[in-house]
């Protein structure tokens, strides 16, 4: 739900409560005000009657249907003005109605009279109706006004927010530019911008450190490795005894392994740092066919039969090097961990890439193999980074990788569409 809609709903909800309370207040205020004014009016009427009485011989003549005149003993205390409501027969409506009644005593020509009169009250139903109608009208006006203006205003107020969002979306480590925002009048946005700016600077410097580390690692370590391997190569060809040869062989093999680990880790770091930019449309089917040619011979030697089901011209968007890495790692993995005689089943279509191969039962959960340096057979020559690279490539492209072992068969499925 959009922020503006949430705001509007909350605002309208609060408005309803305020309008209800306000309506009640107005209702009571209005009613008491009317009663008060009616009472006043009746008092004035009584005052007028009292004045008239002074001029009349017989005050009783004034008495009519709404005016009651009672003579009280002259020594009785004066009754001040009082008003209240009462139920009385209302002639024109021909029914009993709630009426307001007011009374006061007067001294007229030395005689003490108590006069009282009543009048029909304005019905509370009428007041309620008026109040409700007014409130509903105001509420509707508010509703329309808010609906229209909030949209316009929110566009204006949230404009810096959308701008910032765009900047964040376009943020790339490659540009090496921290996030910069135009100053806004909104305090919250300013806080957010400040935070994002600091965070991006931090991210860039962290990224730089990691990148430099992996670059230095892959570059600087190559030379000492090359030196060591060269010396060992020279040593191998010098006069040595069998024991020495074995030692040299062990050192030589360890050195080779180190090269491979460094290379693979550097590749993984490159993948994680998104250094492969510039995706192209790649014909996956053709790439697979080309790679398969390279491996034909190896499969022949290991006595592995290949079953393939390649839908022609399956296109994916990927950096060419990455695509090659993906296929090479999958194929070499399937060959490496196969049996002899064994088989590989390869299928590719627009939805997914499936590679199945016969292989030894894994010791643990197969998904463990996707982690770095996890291998099925600890004695094997491989270093256990191949599938990690495959998984990293899948992660970058949002492909879902699934690894299962069912019926003596390792199966890797990569969903190319999600």
């Amino acid at each position: 739900m959009k922020l503006i809609n949430q705001f509007t709903i909350w605002y309208l909800g609060i408005s309803i409560i305020v309008f209800l309370i306000g309506g009640l207040l107005i209702f009571y205020k209005l009613e008491s005000e009317i009663d008060f004014e009616q009472g006043k009016e009746l008092e004035r009427q009584l005052d007028r009657y009292a004045k008239k009485m002074e001029t009349l011989e017989n005050p009783e003549r004034l008495r009519k249907d709404r005016l009651e005149i009672k003579e009280l003993p002259a020594d009785q205390a004066m009754i001040p003005f009082q008003s209240g409501d009462t139920l009385a027969w209302h002639e024109p409506l021909e029914q009993i109605e709630r009426q307001v009644k007011a009374g006061k005593s007067y001294l007229v020509n030395g005689r003490h009279f108590y006069m009282s009169t009543y009048n029909i009250m304005i019905e509370s139903n009428d007041i309620t109706e008026t109040v409700v109608q007014t409130m509903v009208a105001i509420f509707l006006m508010l509703l329309i006004f808010i609906a229209v203006t909030s949209r316009l205003v929110s566009k204006r107020i949230l404009q810096p927010f959308h701008q910032s969002l765009n900047r964040i979306k376009n943020f790339s480590f490659k540009d090496n530019q921290p996030l910069e925002f135009e100053p806004t009048k909104t305090e919250e946005f300013e806080k957010l911008h400040d935070f994002l700016n600091k965070m991006s600077i931090r991210l860039l410097s962290d990224y730089k450190v990691v990148k430099e580390f992996s670059e230095n690692l892959s570059h600087e370590i190559q030379t000492p490795i090359a030196v060591a391997s060269g010396k060992l190569e020279l040593l191998l060809n010098s006069p040595i005894n069998n024991q020495q040869a074995n030692w040299i062989a062990a050192a030589y093999n360890a050195n080779e392994k180190m090269t491979k680990i460094v290379n693979s880790l550097a590749t993984l770091a490159k993948l994680e740092n998104q250094e492969f930019e510039g995706s192209q449309s790649i014909d996956l089917s053709r790439l697979i066919a080309d790679c398969l040619k390279e491996y034909e011979e190896l499969m022949g030697i290991k006595n592995i039969t290949l079953h393939q089901q390649l839908t022609p011209s399956v296109k994916i968007d990927m950096h060419p090097n990455m695509a090659e890495m993906l296929i090479n790692n999958l194929l070499s993995n399937a060959i490496k961990h196969n049996e002899s005689p064994g088989y590989i089943y390869l299928e590719v279509n627009n939805k997914c890439l499936i590679i199945k191969n016969k292989g030894p039962k894994p010791t643990g959960n197969v998904t463990e193999y996707l982690k770095r340096f996890k291998k099925g057979n600890p004695m094997s020559e491989s270093i256990g980074l191949g599938l990690s690279i495959v998984q990293q490539i899948c992660r970058i492209h949002g492909y879902i990788l699934d690894y299962t072992f069912i019926n003596e068969e390792h199966q890797i499925t990569i969903q190319l569409q999600n």
Binding site: T223, A250, Y252, E256, K260, E294, L298, I301
Partner: protein
């Protein structure tokens, strides 16, 4: 005798290469920076230049131009730790003949230098002969006592690799790198090397050749010019 100039700033690495090449009969002149390299290029003439990209006073790529101007017949082999495709393409476009990523096997460097030498200086017409074995890299034919061997491309490459590095122990890893390059490197299954060597030996023996290739336990193989049998 082949004469090469090595431009490499890592003294240890440079020593390894010089020593190795000397042991296979290649004269190797070494220097550690662009400045010295330009001097040497003006005075001497070389068959090949082995060039590192990262040098203390510039990049090796800048030197390619100088080399091409002074010694047009000279081969250039770039060695660089930067396995980046960009460097490789740029180097080859500027006129380098081959590219080798560090760390490499000395035997591999030797084989590449020999191949360049054959291709450019000898016009590819060089036939390697050793006792009863004759190998012609141009038409990919190998003969034992004038009988044509039926070799696959990989087996032929393997034989050539052995003949270039006679009497030297070749690690299995060096053989893998030579035959399959960097990509299949991870496939590190030495069974493959074993299979190829087994087939090659069988084919040579069947054609009446001696069994020169011997296994060096735990390390690799060696083309022994004076087999005991």
């Amino acid at each position: 005798m082949m004469k090469i100039l090595l431009i490499e700033d890592q003294i240890e690495l440079s020593d390894n290469i010089t020593e190795f090449l000397a042991s296979v009969g290649i004269f190797c002149d070494a220097c550690t920076n662009c400045f010295d390299a330009q001097d040497k290029l003006l005075i001497n003439s070389y068959d090949s230049i082995v060039l590192d990209i990262m040098l203390p006073d510039g990049t090796g790529l800048e030197l390619i131009d100088v080399i091409k101007k002074n010694q047009s017949k000279c081969n250039i082999l770039i060695i660089s730790a930067k396995g980046s495709l960009g460097d490789k393409i740029e180097g080859l476009e500027l006129g380098a003949d081959d590219y080798l990523t560090k760390p490499f096997h000395l035997a591999e460097l030797h084989a590449r230098l020999k191949a360049l030498y054959r291709r450019n200086q000898l016009g590819g017409s060089d036939v390697l002969t050793f006792n009863e074995i004759q190998v012609n890299p141009e038409n990919l034919q190998a003969l034992i006592n004038q009988t044509l061997l039926d070799l696959t491309k990989k087996e032929f490459d393997l034989l050539l690799f052995f003949l270039t590095n006679k009497d030297r122990v070749l690690g299995r890893q060096a053989i893998v790198q030579h035959l399959w390059g960097d990509y299949t490197d991870d496939l590190a299954n030495f069974d493959f090397v074993y299979q190829h060597i087994k087939n090659l030996r069988k084919k040579i023996c069947q054609a009446g050749g001696k069994d020169y290739i011997e296994t060096v336990y735990g390390i690799g193989y060696k083309f022994n010019t004076s087999p005991e049998k």
